[in-house]
Structure formats: C-alpha cells, structure tokens
C-alpha cells in the first residue's frame, strides 16, 4: 500500500492533467457535433464517449502503477498474437462501414493492433539490444552489421504482417501512423540506423514520385491525365483524394467537398470562435454529418472555439507529448524508452495527420483525432497507451537493471 502511494506520488501530473483536459474537450465536442444529428443515438453519443473515457481513466491509473516491464513480459506477445488473429477475423466476419471492413462487433481490431505492435516491438527489441551492446565491445563490426540486419528484418516482420492485414481492410491511415511509430522505435534502439534511414529515403522518394506524378497529371490535358492515372498502382478513391490535395478547388462538389467545407468551418471560426455548440457548418449539415463526429471533428472544434481554442488543443497535445518524450529520455532501460517513443510518436502522428488533413495540408486519410473523435475503442486504446507511458514515467527511473549497471 505504501508502495502504491509512493508510485502515485511519482505520477507525472502535468501529463495527467493534459489527459483529463483533452478528455473533457472530447466529451464536449462529441456532444456538440452529435447535437446536429437527427438520430437520438447519435445525439446521446457523448454519454457513451464519457463512459468509455471514465473506464479509460481507470485503466490509465491502473496501468501507470503497474511496472511496464512485467506488463510487457507477460502480455506483449500474447496480445500481439491475439490482435493478429482478430485482424484476420475482421477480414472474414467483420462488418462493412464507410467503405471498409474495419469493425469486429463493437470495436476496431486495427486500433488495438497499433498498440500491440508497439508493445511487441518494445519487448523484443529491448531483448536484442542488451546482449548486442555487450557484444559490440568484443566482436567484429561485421557481426554487428549482421545482427543489425537481423533486428531490422525482425522489426519489419513484426510491423509488416499486421500492416498488411490492416491495408487489406483497407485502412491506409492506420498503417500510415503505425509505420513512423515503429520506425522511431527502431531508430531509438540504434540497432540498424542505416537500414532505417535508407528505407525512409526510399519511402520519401516514392511518396514524392507519386505526388509529383499527380501534380504533373493535374497540369496536363485531360486525356494525358487519365492515361497517367491508369498506370498508377493506386485505387480510384486514393487517386481522387490525392487530386483534391493537389488542387483543392477542382472538385468542391465531389471528393473535395469535405475538405472545402472543413476549411470553411475552420476559417469562419475566426479568432474566438462562434461559441461551443453554436457551430453553423455542422448544424446545417454543410460539414457532412457522416464525418463531423469522426475524422472532421476538429473542424467542428475549430469553428466553435476559434483559433485560440484550437491552439489550446494543440498546446495540450504538445505538452503531453513532450512530457512523454522527457519520460523516454530520463528512462534508464531500453524497454521503457522504446515503448515511450513508440506511444508518443503514434499519438503525434494521429494528431498531426488528422489536423493537417482537416486544413488541407495532407491528403484525406480516415484517421481519428485522439480524445476528440467519437470512437470508444480508439479512446480506450489511447488511454491505455498513455497509461503505459505514465508507467514509464513512474517506473523508468527508479529500478535499474543489472545488465545496465554492469556496463557502467
């Protein structure tokens, strides 16, 4: 009991306060966005959201007092395997919604899988790191390189299998935030930096190629354009989204409509906003009701609380993430550090991609905004992840593993 109290004392309260503030914001805006909807279930969605948040906060506190090392040791691998099974299951028996087979009964396995991948990568890589570091002093460089490649291959495999399954749903957005998170973790382990940098370069170059191709296609004649698009190895809706990203004015009544209306909502919010619950774009249905609760809820928020409110939200996230990064920085063992870096990067990618897509800085990908978007699975996953982050902050400093002290 004394132990528990001392742990609670060590909680990073700034982080916790940010979490609570973001949860409150989330409940408020789910209620606001839901109020515009005709169905009573959606109008009362905020209650479900609040209940999930309550459950999540309990999980958060519970996980923050449990040593993440024990947790990862016991759960990481089984959790990973279960989520793989669920990802396969969702492809077979899942429910179709909004153009993707993402739902298994009441939750989305891909949201859970994100966390599972981060946990298993942290667990396995931390196991590789320690012996490898010890060996580095004695063995030749070739061996280190070979081990580095093995680690890279293992990481790619751990990431690749669930990423492929998620892509099959299809859910490009989740894959796109999972990859940077894992890459950051592998980078943090310093096992195979060259490989990772090389891979990132290839990724950046190919993304640049695709964007460049679309850009040239948009600026050429219609016949040429269609010919180019026919050759691109992308799906039709993806090409459309990329086109809207390149030239937002081209199709404001079709695919570009959501983006156009989202930017109008955000822009008309001006400095101070129209007041909570008084957003006109969502109330009048200009911001499509199908997305105003999920992917475009930031537009609702920005319209109602304006630049100051959205800046406050970004600040809360920034403080939360930088505190998490600090926890990773001060953590003594690789497992905690990898876990923290993975979680922080995952949340950052979610926030950045979602807000950037709302204001047209990135192509539209269906990604929820943590805490704010109405999605119970994701909310709980985020709170569980942040609970583990908190656990890193609590436990990371105090207990030093033997091996590390030996090196010292």
């Amino acid at each position: 009991m004394k132990n528990l109290l001392s742990k609670l004392k060590k909680l990073d309260y700034i982080m916790f306060a940010c979490v609570i503030a973001l949860i409150v914001m989330g409940v408020v805006f789910v209620k606001s966005a839901g109020s515009a909807r005709a169905s009573l279930a959606l109008q009362n969605l905020w209650q479900g959201h609040a209940m999930a948040a309550t459950l999540g906060v309990f999980l958060y506190l519970f996980l923050s007092v449990i040593d993440y090392r024990k947790l990862l040791f016991w759960t990481a691998k089984p959790f990973y395997i279960i989520s793989l099974v669920m990802l396969v299951a969702v492809l077979i028996v899942g429910t179709d919604r909004f153009g993707g087979r993402r739902w298994l009964w009441f939750f989305q396995p891909s949201e859970v899988a994100k966390l599972a991948v981060i946990m298993v990568v942290a667990q396995i890589f931390s196991r590789i790191v320690t012996p490898l570091k010890n060996r580095m002093k004695f063995d030749d460089a070739k061996l280190v390189q070979f081990e580095g490649f093995k680690a890279f291959a293992a990481g790619m495999a751990l990431l690749g299998i669930p990423a492929f399954l998620i892509l099959c749903e299809p859910d490009l957005g989740t894959t796109l935030v999972l990859i940077p998170a894992v890459i950051m973790m592998i980078l943090a382990s310093r096992l195979c930096t060259h490989w990772i940098i090389g891979m990132c370069l290839i990724g950046v170059i190919s993304a640049g190629l695709v964007i460049g191709t679309v850009w040239t296609a948009e600026n050429s004649t219609p016949e040429k354009r269609d010919a180019i698009y026919a050759k691109l190895p992308l799906k039709n809706h993806q090409i459309k989204r990329l086109r809207v990203f390149i030239s937002p004015e081209a199709d404001i009544h079709g695919v570009g409509y959501n983006l156009r209306q989202s930017i109008i909502s955000i822009g008309s919010g001006s400095l101070k906003g129209k007041g909570i619950g008084k957003g006109e774009q969502k109330a009048l249905g200009y911001l499509p009701p199908a997305v105003s609760l999920n992917d475009f809820i930031f537009a609702v928020l920005a319209e109602e609380v304006g630049f100051m409110g959205s800046l406050a939200m970004l600040l809360l996230f920034a403080v939360l993430l930088l505190r998490g990064l600090k926890a990773a920085f001060v953590c003594d063992d690789p497992k905690g550090r990898l876990l923290a870096v993975g979680i922080v990067t995952l949340i950052f990618c979610h926030v950045y991609v979602n807000v950037a897509m709302n204001i047209g800085l990135m192509p539209i990908t269906g990604l929820p905004l943590p805490f704010i978007s109405a999605g119970r699975t994701f909310l709980i996953v985020v709170l569980v992840a942040l609970g583990m982050l908190q656990s890193v902050a609590v436990h990371g400093r105090k207990i030093k593993t033997k091996s590390l002290t030996e090196i010292e």
Partner: protein, 632 residues
C-alpha cells in the same frame, strides 16, 4: 534536485532532440496553417460560409395609402392571412417521401378547415424543388372563420403557420375608383441586385396606383434566410443553436399619397351621376387642383382584391356602358355649344364688334349646308352677348365663317384642346382639333367652309375630353390662365404649373364671361342658378324656388351625334362660381340626355349648392321672387 541522481545511460540525447524538434516543428506548422486560415484569411472563409448559408429574399415595403385633401383614406391597407406550410418540418427521408408527407398533411388540414386548397401536386413538387427555403402558401387570404378554425387546431399541425401580408382595402368601395385605380401583385423591381427569392408586391395597374406606383411602393428590403446544406430552412429545434439572427435590410413603407380630391364633393358629384352615363370634373380655377373627378358608371375597387374573379371580369368587360373606362380623361366627345365661348373670343380677337347683331332666322345656310338653330323660329336680331345667352347656332356659324378656319383652330388650341392636359393620370386622351390636313388624312376629303361653321358651334369632327372642358372653363373663370390640372396635392405653391396664358384681352374675356353669366340668369342655363320643384310636387310647394347663394356663370351644350336610330345627344354644362373671384370651375357631361339646360343644369345646381348653399324663395303673383321668411 533529482537531476543529480539521473545518469543518462545510453540515452541518446541527439535522438531525443531530433524527435522533440520534429514534434515542435509539426505543431508549429499546424499552428501557422491554422493562423493563416482562422486569422489572416478569416474574411474570405466567413464570406464563403455566409454565401453558401444564406438565401436572399426581396421583401416589398408597405404600399402607401391614398388620402383625400383632408387626410381621409380612400385606399388603405388591411392584414390578410395566409396559411403556409414550412417544408423544413418534414423529416421523413427521401424527397418523394417528404412530398407525399406534405400532401397528406395538407389533405388532413383541408378536412379540419373544411376548405379545399387550390394547390396541385405539380405545384407542391415545383415549390419543393425550387423554393424550399420559403414556406409554401396553402390557403391564400383566408376569412376569419377558417382562420379561427386553424388557430384552434394549430397544435395538430406543427408544420403549418400563418403568414400575414398587406392587402388593399377601399373604405368607400366604388368612390373615385377610376382615379385611384386597381392593383395587382407582381415581382418587385430589383434593379441590378440579385435575389434568390422574392415576395410579390402590390403594383398599380391603372389610375393613380399606376401613375404613382414608384412613389407609393416604398423601398424593398432584404431578408437573408439561413438554409442548411440541402437548401431547407433549419427546423425550429436547430434554429435555437444558431448564433444571432440573420442579416437584414429593413423594408421601408412608401409615403401616403395626398390628393386634391375633396371626399364630400366627390360623393355629391357621384350621387348626381348615379345611374347615368357621364363624367364630371370639378377644378379649382386658381391653381388647377382637381377637387372631384367622376366617371359613371363606376366599379367597386374591392372586387379587385386580391384579384378580379373571372365572373366579375366578364361582367365588367361585357357591360356596354364600359364601367372600367375613365370617361373624364379618356372619353372624347363633341363639345356642342360649350365650345361657343371659344368661337366668341376668336371673333372678338378677329375684330368682330361685340354689339354687331345678326339676324337669326332659325336656319343657317351656307352652300349645301343647312344648319338649324335649336329655336326653329329664330332668335331674330342677336348681338354677341345675347347669342351666348341663348346659344344661337346661326350667329356662331356666321361668326365662325367671318373669323375663318385658321383663327378658330388657333383659338381652340390656345385653350389646350387637341393635346393632353398633362394630368397625373395614365391613359389620357388628347382629343381632336381638326384642320385641313387632318381631315384629308382621316376622311380623305378636303376642308369645306361648312366644316368651319360646324366647328364654331362645337360639332363636326371636333373631339374633346371632359377634363379639357374643365380646364377651358377654369381659364375663363380665372381670366386667362391655363393651369395644368393635377391630383397629387402640392406642398408648395411654387410647384403650381401655369401652362400658358390665353391670347385674348381682358376686355374680350369679360364680354364672354358676362355672356355666360346671362346664361344662368335668363338664358339656357337658368336651372344652374335656380332649382325648380319636381313635376311630382303639388300644391303651394310648386311655388318654391331655390336660388344659389352665389353668383355663377355657365354655358350649356347639347351635342348631337349620329343620325337616324343611333341619333343621340350628349348634354353638357360648364360652369364657374363665384362670378367675381371664382373658386370652382366644373365641366359635366351626361350621355344621352335631353339637353344641357334640362338634364345637366339641375345637377350642376346641386353640386354648387352643396358648396355654396342655396336660399329658398317663393314665386310671387307678379312673377317676382321673394326670399322665404321675408314675406309681408
């Protein structure tokens, strides 16, 4: 602090710095992008939002009233209730489902109100697709009983509401109907501005309503209607969520139109012409104000509210008396003997001596032309004064011959005949003052000297309007000034327009005026000055006479038109009073009368007596009149 305990084992500071700066840069990028959208370009996006959210609706201003010279409303406004259906209150799925839901609820409302709506399904569908942001009018202009029934049951029909619009009402029905004119409903003038929707406004279709349409109709306003993404107004529940109210430019009411018409005088004149076909114009000779203008038969203006029914339209348009025609300004007639003062003035100007006599033998012969004087036995030797008094045709035929065609035409034109007076009413006729060219053009015949004689007694091809005769007689009354007649009361005396001054000397005008005075004292127009008892009166009352309290002057006229079966007489009186400083000038026409002196003169007497009053006299045995109450 705790930092001292901390030993950064393996912690890669560069890496953490890298990740941290990626986060910071990422958030900065987002913040800058948000700043550009929400602060720098806020005007652009706010405008886009307003543009897509609002539909502008043009709302007409209230139409001004029309008042008589004392401020009594002749054309007023009253509220009219419509029952409308608000489409946004139907939430049942697809378009076709909604349309059938609308139809069903209209049907059930019809049952409750016990009144059929004239709406067809086609109209509902069209309204649904084209103007869904504005309510659909289901029952137009409902009466109090149906409206009460609706209010009682309103809770059962949440999608329906009442809407009030202003409708014209005429407290005096047919009074001055030709002057006021009727209105219709039409799209308001929008100029260069664009509006999504408009409310129909009252528009003048005839009379003053048409002439002063721009003056009366006021300035239209704009109501900006907030609509949702599908083009409907937000339903009641959602409207509470919105910020503030819609932008608004208030419509302003048009000013009232004050007329020169005197309601009481107008009533009297209308009563005199009741049941007849004719026209009368009463003017103030000092400035050209029209005090009363009547055309008979008349029509009830309330029949045109909200619109003329088919049945009434047929009745009005098939009536041979043409009640919709304003005879006072549009009807053209031969003036007959009331033209003779003009011939007399032309003669005097030409140098014909006032005391030179002419022997009337009852017939005037010039070549083939044989013109009978109305007194078959002839008037004998008559001078100018007596010729006016007795309205001797032979004298004036001779005078016209002496004066010559050109001078006679010039004299007629100097009184403004043959052209519009410029009164502020639409549809005025100019009339005709014929000359050689005109006759050649229209009749394909040369001008004969006989035509001059015909014209000099106001017959032949000469055509004038009653209003022109009123202007003529007021020029005689005010000793030579032609005023532009007007109906819209002028606030400033300097706005009164004197069109021209007669080219006749005061001396000559006095001769003619005194001749016209003799007409009422002992000539053809005795009944203007004196009222005789009716045929039905018996006994001592037969000796009663009623004399105007004021000195007046007049000229009677009887114009013969057509030949054989269609032969008829249009009877005239023009008069002014008081004789010395006239304040009233009037011209009155009765179609198909007996003669000016018999048919019209008593009516003119009644009009003048309503203004100036009359005294009762008793006819003494010696033929003298003694004022009642002064008997010995």
């Amino acid at each position: 602090m705790k930092e001292k305990e901390f030993t950064p084992l393996q912690a890669p500071p560069l890496f953490v710095l890298f990740v941290g700066s990626v986060f910071v840069v990422g958030f900065l990028v987002l913040a800058i992008a948000l700043f550009r959208i929400q602060v720098r370009d806020v005007a652009e996006f706010t405008e886009s939002q307003v543009k897509q959210t609002f539909r502008s609706m043009q709302v007409p201003g209230l139409r001004g009233r029309i008042l008589d010279r004392n401020g009594v409303a002749l054309a007023d406004l009253r509220p009219s209730h419509d029952i409308v259906c608000n489409l946004e209150e139907f939430h049942s799925g697809s378009d076709s489902n909604k349309i059938s839901a609308i139809e069903k609820s209209i049907e059930s409302l019809e049952k409750v109100l016990k009144k059929e709506s004239t709406l067809t399904r086609k109209q509902i569908v069209r309204h649904y697709h084209q103007s869904r942001a504005i309510p659909l009018v289901v029952f137009r202009n409902v009466d109090d009983e149906i409206f009460a029934r609706f209010v009682e049951n309103a809770y059962n029909f949440p999608a329906f509401s009442e809407s009030v619009k202003a409708e014209r009402v005429y407290p005096y029905g047919s009074l001055a109907s030709h002057l006021i004119g009727y209105t219709g409903r039409d799209r308001p003038d929008s100029g260069n501005e664009f509006f999504h929707y408009y409310e129909k406004e009252l528009k003048g279709r005839s009379g003053l309503e048409l002439f002063y349409n721009g003056y009366l109709s006021g300035v239209t306003g704009v109501r900006n209607i907030r609509v949702d993404a599908r083009g409907f107004k937000p339903s009641k529940a959602k409207r509470d969520l919105m910020n503030g109210d819609v932008e608004y430019r208030e419509a302003s009411a048009g000013p009232d139109l004050s007329l020169t018409i005197d309601l009481n005088l107008q009533k009297v004149v209308e009563r005199e012409l009741n049941g007849l076909t004719g026209a009368a114009v009463v003017m103030d000779p000092r400035n050209g104000e029209i005090l009363a203008m009547v055309s008979a038969p008349s029509y009830d203006l309330n029949d045109f509210v909200p619109f003329l029914s088919m049945e009434k339209f047929e009745r009005y348009s098939n009536d041979p008396a043409k009640p919709l025609l304003n005879r006072a300004i549009t009807g053209t007639y031969a003036p007959g003997s009331i033209f003779k003062p003009i011939t007399a003035l032309a003669g005097l100007k030409h140098g014909y001596p006032a005391d030179k006599t002419y022997d009337c033998k009852g017939i005037f012969v010039l070549g083939n032309l044989r013109l009978h004087c109305w007194d078959r036995y002839g008037h004998g030797e008559v001078g100018l004064h007596d010729a006016i008094k007795t309205s001797c045709n032979s004298f004036f035929c001779n005078l016209g011959r002496v004066v010559g065609t050109n001078d006679l035409i010039a004299a007629a034109k100097s009184f403004g005949l043959g052209k519009k007076t410029g009164i502020d009413l639409p549809g005025e006729a100019a009339g005709v003052v014929p000359d050689g060219t005109w006759k050649m053009d229209h009749w394909d015949e040369p001008w004969y000297p006989g035509d001059t004689c015909q014209m000099s007694i106001g017959q032949g091809m000469l055509l004038i309007t009653p209003l022109q005769m009123a202007v003529m007689v007021s020029a005689l009354a005010n000793r030579g000034k032609i005023y532009k007649p007007y109906l819209h009361k002028k606030t400033d005396a300097s706005q009164i327009e004197c069109v021209s001054t007669l080219p006749f000397s005061q001396e000559h005008l006095e001769i003619v005026r005194s001749g016209m005075r003799a007409v009422v004292e002992e000539g053809t127009g005795r009944r203007v000055l004196m009222r005789y008892p009716d045929q039905s009166v018996v006994g001592a009352d037969r000796k009663k006479r009623f004399l105007l309290k004021v000195n007046c002057a007049a000229k009677t006229g009887t114009a013969e038109i057509g030949r054989g079966v269609t032969r008829r007489k249009n009877t005239w009186v023009v008069a002014f009073a008081p004789y010395d400083n006239p304040t009233i000038a009037l011209a009155m026409l009765v179609e198909r009368g007996d003669s000016g002196g018999k048919t019209v003169a008593p009516k003119v007497h009644n009009i003048l007596s309503s203004i100036f009053g009359e005294d009762e006299y008793r006819l003494m045995r010696n033929g003298e009149l003694q004022k009642a109450g002064e008997e010995e």
